[in-house]
Symmetry: C2
Subunit: 255 residues, 2 copies
């Protein structure tokens, strides 16, 4: 049995709470948030607090707070030499106050309040300073069914950066698809199977092999038609840059 | 029973052949390709030809050829007043020779030789000039289990353009994620669940609501870290442009 205290009230904190709460081998001793109203609806499931002086003993403290809050909150914790983890992809493990045993529990996934998460699809990237902390962090991930990967700081930061490309930027391309279709009387819904298939394809095939379309074919006629159809300069810039990028990858001349 | 002749040997032609071949209410009279060797491996399943003068009578002729070949091939067909469809997202239905009954059977999906296709996830966008052709085209799609949508030329072209954003450009972002991780000693495989979840999320949630990350949060510190980490000027340009795009969408100032 691993005992944890969760700190924070954002998406990651909330989804971790739900997963830990359902896991058999984890007990959540407390859930802390500075803004206790944000987690008040869970008060029948767990002890909620907004006062760090009330914090109880636990095996692991999880700082699922915003990047900027990690350092200060870790200093304010009224104990030392306990295992304290943050969940950020980009913050250094050394941002955690050195009075603690420090580590990172970075769930490489997108979390929204609105969407349920199946933690078996959430790789947990684990980073530790002392090796002895590793097994307990790994067990913590396993109890919620997540695959784990031990990474160093550089790898974690690169994964976080790459995640911005494949998640935030990709989602913005979906948004542009939405804008283009809806502004011109077509249905975005028709694109949803394509969106899903595009993501499924690279589960087995490399993105290099999966590529198709006018940019890769260097199909100037279609590219010209598309640029003409685009009404927003901003969309046009993105079209040009990504077309060039595809042609660069696939050994063609620039647009 | 609908009888068809398929013309072309590319990915769309091949996947349509396989789907029609399995469908109960369709008979494939012939499969034509200029390069008969490309389809020779199917000669036990269907009559293959490379000579248009041998073409047989059928209810529907499907020109699954490259955009540039549609017009000429349709003129060369040695008959008239039959239903002839092309499968392109961007070519005008009027590119088909006017001696035929003309229509479009545009499967809004990504096709690769390597990946099997489930046609129940392929919306068929149907365009016709004369209304009488519509029911047979719709039936053709239904026999392979595809949902259908009647569109006009403008809608089809806009869908094709949007498809480039959500498919080709998205796939290029996956490719960049691959380049960034592999060049810096991290595993692209760790990003695959995130890629899938990002696509799944917008099946129910709008891309606007699904957005997260440093650009949306206007998290300058993380954005600066990421730009510093990027080693390729080209990746940096894409990072900047899509960050600005997200901030534009979510009502923030420019980067």
């Amino acid at each position: 049995m691993i005992s944890v205290v969760i700190l924070g009230s954002g998406n990651v904190a909330t989804h971790l709470f739900k997963a830990f709460n359902q896991a058999e081998d984890i007990v959540i001793n407390q859930w802390y948030s500075r803004r206790i109203t944000a987690i008040a609806s869970y008060k029948n499931d767990v002890e909620i607090i907004d006062d760090l002086s009330l914090i109880k003993d636990a095996d692991v403290y999880i700082l699922a707070v915003s990047d900027d809050a990690i350092s200060e909150l870790s200093s304010q914790l009224p104990f030392e030499n306990k295992l304290v983890l943050h969940t950020s992809g980009s913050v250094s493990v050394y941002d955690i106050d050195k009075k603690h045993k420090r580590g990172v529990f970075y769930p490489l996934q997108t979390f929204s309040k609105e969407a349920e998460i199946d933690f078996s699809t959430v790789p947990i990237c684990i980073e530790t300073i002392d090796k002895k902390s590793y097994p307990i962090i790994k067990n913590l991930a396993l109890t919620i069914g997540s695959p784990t990967k031990r990474v160093n700081s550089d790898q974690r930061k690169v994964l976080h950066l790459a995640a911005v490309f494949v998640n935030n930027f990709t989602n913005q391309l979906y948004r542009i698809g939405h804008e283009i279709t809806e502004s011109q009387g077509a249905e975005f819904d028709l694109l949803k199977p394509l969106i899903l298939e595009t993501a499924k394809k690279v589960q087995d095939l490399s993105p290099f092999k999966a590529q198709t379309g006018p940019a890769k074919r260097h199909d100037k006629k279609t590219i010209r038609k598309h640029l003409k159809l685009l009404e927003d300069q901003h969309h046009e810039d993105i079209y040009q840059l990504l077309t060039t990028s595809i042609q660069h990858t696939h050994g063609r001349k620039k647009l």
